[in-house]
């Protein structure tokens, strides 16, 4: 088992730049030259992005109150807030309606509230509002306050998409090419992004009310693709969507919502979806498809997760001791699953095998409890709960985003980079910490990817910076 104590001390002075000879470096020695990664490092600040400061329903308070007829108000309440709003309106205007109607609607309202509170006591996450729910189950450290809401690397090329606070999505390629901005009427509270594998153009976006599939032509020079380029996929009761996963062959897309007990398997081109329902757990919060396409992890808000096999779509239940599954990632061959739980500072590993059936219980492979490193300007504490995990496609590096303590000065959120090896036994070895620049917290450790020689890791805070870790397989030399 690996713990943070054996890591080399973090370099606090500057941003970590690249890796050489198993060392994470922050500066070049004079005369050295690193082949630059031809990717832009856009800067986003909260001030330039005007988010929706208040939800639409509360904009009512800005305007002067105007008494309408009861019919108009009821219709408005029905449109804004559905049955609840209608009943509420009728109950509140008891002097205008017949007495039996007011009493009846008050009774029905009380009954509905009691039923929903009972439902909510079974599944506490259902009492959250939609934005709170998205923030709770997002893979970002601070979804609601961050300027950057989601991030996705293209799986095959040097291209990435970022979702911003103002509900727009920007796509960056190389430094020279135009950056398309995607906006759509339904694109609200983006929680997850994923590029379609084996495709140059399709980007799936998990929004508050639906699922959008953008088709952004890579050859196009347009900076503002029309909303006609987006397919809208929705299913009643299936919102807000907090996680999406493309199958590695790009033929299917799975989407999950914490409110809906079924996850949807979409055939995107045909726009048809098959719901796969399992009631236990009360919803699905996080999905992760194994790189070989044979298994799919589905985490629920309760202390339970499921592993689906994707041939006949049956599932195994894995109850957890405490806390729900927060993040997970698969090894490149799909045989090993690393998991992190809410409220626990460890990483678990599960092995799957078609021949032996795999492990019966998860084993702890890394201990991530707080460790203090002495530094030039005071001690630095590192460690905490895992916010997100990601493994590079060749299975050599594992990046773990550790949640810091926002109150303490010397306990920032960092990304711990592990070296991984799978034979003879699965093992995690320390590599180093990736720090943000001073005064900046790391918000996301969204994805990690390799091209032929370089491994890029994203650290997103107020800046999107690409860290290029250069190493070759031969030079790893464990």
């Amino acid at each position: 088992m690996c713990s943070l104590g054996v890591f080399p001390a973090p370099v606090t002075a500057a941003q970590t730049l690249f890796e050489r000879n198993n060392e994470l470096l922050s500066a070049l020695r004079p005369g050295e030259h690193v082949q630059p990664c031809d990717l832009p490092s856009p800067q986003f600040t909260r001030d330039t992005l005007k988010g929706h400061s208040r939800p639409e329903s509360s904009s009512k308070s800005v305007f002067l109150d105007q008494r309408d007829t009861l019919w108009m108000r009821s219709a408005g309440a029905w449109r804004d807030a559905g049955l609840y709003g209608l009943l509420d309106e009728i109950t509140n205007s008891a002097e205008e309606v017949p007495r039996f109607l007011a009493v009846g609607s008050a009774c029905v309202l009380a009954l509905l509230r009691w039923a929903s509170s009972f439902h909510g006591s079974l599944f506490p996450h259902l009492t959250l509002s939609r934005d709170e729910m998205v923030a709770e189950f997002s893979q970002m450290l601070d979804w609601s306050d961050s300027a950057l809401r989601s991030f996705a690397w293209h799986p095959h090329t040097d291209k990435f998409a970022v979702a911003l606070l103002d509900d727009s999505i920007k796509i960056y390629k190389s430094n020279s090419s135009p950056t398309p901005t995607l906006k759509h009427r339904w694109q609200r509270s983006v929680c997850a992004l994923q590029w379609k594998p084996l495709c140059g153009s399709a980007l799936a976006v998990a929004c508050q009310s639906c699922l959008l599939i953008w088709h952004v032509d890579p050859a196009s020079l347009s900076t503002r693709p029309s909303s006609g380029c987006a397919q809208v996929l929705s299913h009643p009761g299936h919102s807000p969507i907090t996680s999406i996963a493309w199958s590695p062959t790009g033929s299917l897309l799975v989407s999950a919502s914490p409110v809906d007990t079924s996850m949807m398997v979409w055939d995107v081109a045909a726009e048809s979806g098959v719901p796969l329902q399992r009631v236990g757990g009360g919803g699905v919060t996080y999905l992760s498809w194994s790189p070989d396409g044979s298994r799919l992890l589905a985490a629920t808000p309760a202390a339970l997760f499921r592993v689906w096999e994707t041939r006949m779509w049956t599932c195994e239940r894995w109850p957890c001791l405490k806390g729900s599954c927060q993040s997970a990632c698969w090894s490149p061959d799909g045989g090993c699953l690393l998991l992190s739980m809410q409220g626990e500072k460890v990483i678990y590993a599960l092995t799957f095998s078609d021949l032996t059936g795999g492990s019966k219980a998860a084993s702890v492979v890394a201990d991530l409890s707080e460790t203090t490193f002495p530094g030039p300007d005071g001690d630095l504490t590192v460690g905490g709960e895992v916010c997100s995990l990601s493994w590079d496609p060749r299975g050599e590096r594992l990046a773990v985003l550790l949640r810091g303590d926002s109150q303490a000065v010397n306990h920032p959120s960092v990304i711990a980079v592990f070296k991984t090896r799978s034979s003879p036994v699965f093992e995690l070895l320390p590599c180093g910490f990736v720090m943000g620049e001073l005064e900046q917290s790391l918000d996301s450790c969204s994805s990690i990817r390799t091209s032929s020689t370089a491994l890029c890791l994203l650290c997103a805070g107020l800046t999107v910076a690409s860290l290029t870790c250069r190493f070759t397989s031969a030079a790893l030399g464990f």
Binding site: H154, H156, T157, L198, C199, G200, S201, P218, A219, T249, G250, S251, L252, V265, W266, D267, V268, A269, A270, E271, S272, V274, P275, L276, Q277, G293, S294, T310, R311, M312, W313, T314
Partner: protein
């Protein structure tokens, strides 16, 4: 549509048994649905104990048992119709006339008649089960003037029976319009029970909605025309009409809450019985079947995948074989190895050769079909510009048609036969939908068709596998281009020689007869129907693409003898040529417009989006091959243009 007389081993050994199993399950489900129906029909809020005891005694009564037997008969007939009418390739009527023809076809009339009868039978069972005032057709009543007791007509019973007939007819009618008998395959594989459980809420919802719609329509119909069957029945059966009761074809008679409740409940029960049978049949038929790749015994050779794929007559077997190919290419290492293996004496890759040849011939047949369609539409456009003067007339006369915005639809004369690829390519589709639509879709031999089309069809030989993927697309395009050029010359040079031109007078002064005009208007094509019809059987092509691309990608590491390498150039160029054809097809008007979302209905509308699915599958399969082989593709011997296109894929710029 397959006929039971066909002597395929697959129909005899697999499909029949699957149908029988589905019917057996529907029969087993009948007592459950009947019990729920009984509970709901006798529901009383204020006497729950009496309600429950009533229901239990009713469920064991002999009348209920007899009703169950009748319902079993209904389910058996429904199941038989499912087996006889189901189709894997939907019949898409390309014009309103064709749709009308399908609805009025004798076969469809028989179908409607049988469903009307079955609807009445089910409703009779329902009315007997509900009991009370609904139970019998005749009821004793006292005549007002003489005071003697005579048998009167029980209008409530008649109302339910007629509602059953109406619902049966509307089910049969909607079955044609919504392609109820089209069986589509799910994007994922599931076991039968989870799939049934997942679909059940949808089916219940659909039957409730459909029953409510039908109840509303029937009530309106009965309000206006209810007196006709009522007087007829009372006069033929010599039943009196009870004048003391409120007649049902009046507003106050129909606004009876209990009557409407029972009508919708029994309608739901009726639809649920039929829909469950359809659902179970679909689930059973589309279940994956695993064909052996090769067999050690020669007598089993015809059941092996390479032989089965070539089969042209048994559509369901061909589809299931292609599905099996797509599945084995993704999920089964051992079966892939069998595909790549060499024959024991001789060392020939017979399995791979047969499979790849069949997939490629399927794909190139689709390419040909697309190119021919594009060419037909293109020549159409040219003809239109030639005869602009007569077009203004036809355009003004057809302005009332919904599809008037479609620019190619404005030339009804020449384009009628051209715009029905379903009929033009009937032979290549396999004639699966010909039985229903053939007499009414414009025929090639009709005097309305242009000689160009006859030649086009004459040139089309789906049986000859166009396996020459080494041909450059230019050669391939040149063929159809030549025909269309000749068409143009002909229509330019001697317009009266063309029978199509004779059929409609060219001068604007000659007013066409009203009937001809009406027929022309009705022959206007439904928008995007031609595109849908062209891609109607594309599920097979999608599986062929998936199977081929995954096998090729797997061969990179699993093919020990290099059997795939020899066919790689032809596979790549076939895919690229198809991609070009598909790209050009999507540039046609209406080809890329998305169909509207359908509301809850049992009819499957998957076929409407098949062309998008095909395009996505095609691009994904090319990407699958290019990402697997990467730079090695440079060494593959293909033409320069195809290499350029593949380079785009290598750079992820598609």
């Amino acid at each position: 549509m397959f006929s039971l007389k066909q002597n395929s081993w697959f129909i005899r050994k697999v499909v029949i048994w699957r149908a029988v199993a589905s019917i057996a399950w529907s029969v087993l489900l009948l007592p459950v649905t009947t019990a729920v129906f009984v509970l709901l029909s006798r529901f009383s809020l204020f006497h729950p104990i009496q309600w429950i005891s009533d229901c239990t005694s009713l469920l064991t009564a002999s009348s209920t048992i007899f009703s169950l037997v009748v319902l079993c008969g209904v389910v058996l007939i429904t199941g038989f119709f499912n087996l006889e009418f189901y189709t894997l390739v939907p019949s898409i009527p390309c014009s309103r006339m064709a749709l009308l023809g399908t609805v009025l076809h004798p076969r469809q009339c028989v179908h409607s008649l049988v469903y009307c009868t079955m609807g009445m039978l089910v409703m009779w069972c329902a009315s007997v089960t509900i009991g009370g005032r609904y139970s019998t057709l005749g009821a004793p009543c006292r005549q007002s003037e003489s005071g003697e007791v005579v048998t009167c007509l029980n209008e409530y019973h008649l109302f339910l029976l007629l509602a059953g007939a109406f619902m049966g007819y509307s089910h049969s009618f909607l079955g044609v319009v919504q392609n109820m008998y089209y069986v589509s395959f799910q994007p994922i594989q599931q076991y039968k029970y989870p799939r049934f459980k997942g679909c059940l809420p949808m089916v219940v919802k659909c039957s409730v909605i459909q029953a409510l719609y039908s109840a509303r329509n029937f009530a309106a119909l009965y309000f206006f025309f209810g007196y006709v069957p009522k007087t007829w029945i009372s006069s033929t059966l010599n039943l009196q009409i009870d004048s003391s009761l409120q007649p049902l074809d009046s507003l106050t008679g129909l606004l009876d809450f209990s009557l409407l409740y029972h009508l919708s409940i029994s309608g739901t029960f009726l639809y649920l019985t039929w829909y469950l049978t359809v659902l179970l049949f679909r689930i059973y038929v589309t279940e994956a079947y695993s064909f052996p790749v090769q067999s050690t015994f020669t007598e089993d050779a015809e059941q092996c995948l390479p032989k089965v794929l070539v089969e042209k007559n048994t559509f369901v077997m061909k589809f299931l074989a292609l599905q099996d190919l797509a599945l084995l290419s993704q999920h089964s290492l051992s079966r892939r190895l069998e595909v790549f293996s060499l024959s024991q004496p001789g060392g020939h890759p017979h399995n791979w050769n047969a499979i790849s040849r069949e997939c490629l011939s399927l794909l190139s047949e689709l390419t040909q079909r697309l190119v021919a369609h594009q060419d037909a539409v293109a020549s159409n456009g040219r003809v239109k510009s030639q005869s602009a003067s007569s077009d203004t007339r036809s355009a003004s006369s057809s302005s009332s048609v919904v599809s008037g915005t479609e620019d190619i639809a404005e030339t009804p004369r020449l384009s009628v036969p051209l715009r029905t690829p379903g009929s033009v390519f009937k032979s290549s589709v396999g004639g699966a939908n010909s039985a229903l639509t053939a007499p009414f879709t414009p025929d090639v031999d009709s005097p309305f068709s242009s000689p160009a089309i006859r030649r086009l069809v004459g040139q089309q030989d789906p049986q000859s596998p166009w396996f020459g993927t080494v041909q450059s697309p230019h050669i391939m395009r040149r063929g159809p281009k030549l025909w269309s050029a000749s068409t143009e010359c002909q229509s330019n040079g001697s317009p009266p020689a063309s029978p199509a031109t004779v059929s409609s007078p060219p001068a604007a002064s000659q007013k066409p007869s009203f009937l001809a005009q009406w027929l022309q208007n009705r022959k206007e094509q439904l928008p995007e129907a031609s595109s849908q019809a062209l891609f109607a059987d594309c599920q097979a092509h999608i599986w062929a693409l998936q199977g081929l691309s995954h096998l090729v990608a797997a061969s990179f590491s699993e093919d020990q003898f290099g059997v795939v390498q020899t066919t790689l150039p032809s596979i790549l160029s076939c895919l690229v040529v198809l991609l070009e054809a598909v790209d050009r097809h999507f540039k046609l008007p209406h080809a890329s417009s998305k169909p509207g979302r359908t509301i809850c209905s049992m009819g499957d509308s998957t076929y409407k989006t098949l062309r998008f699915a095909l395009r996505a599958a095609l691009k994904t399969s090319i990407y699958k091959i290019t990402t697997t082989f990467g730079e090695h593709l440079i060494a593959v011997n293909i033409s320069t243009e195809h290499r350029k296109r593949l380079q785009q894929f290598l750079e992820f710029k598609e």
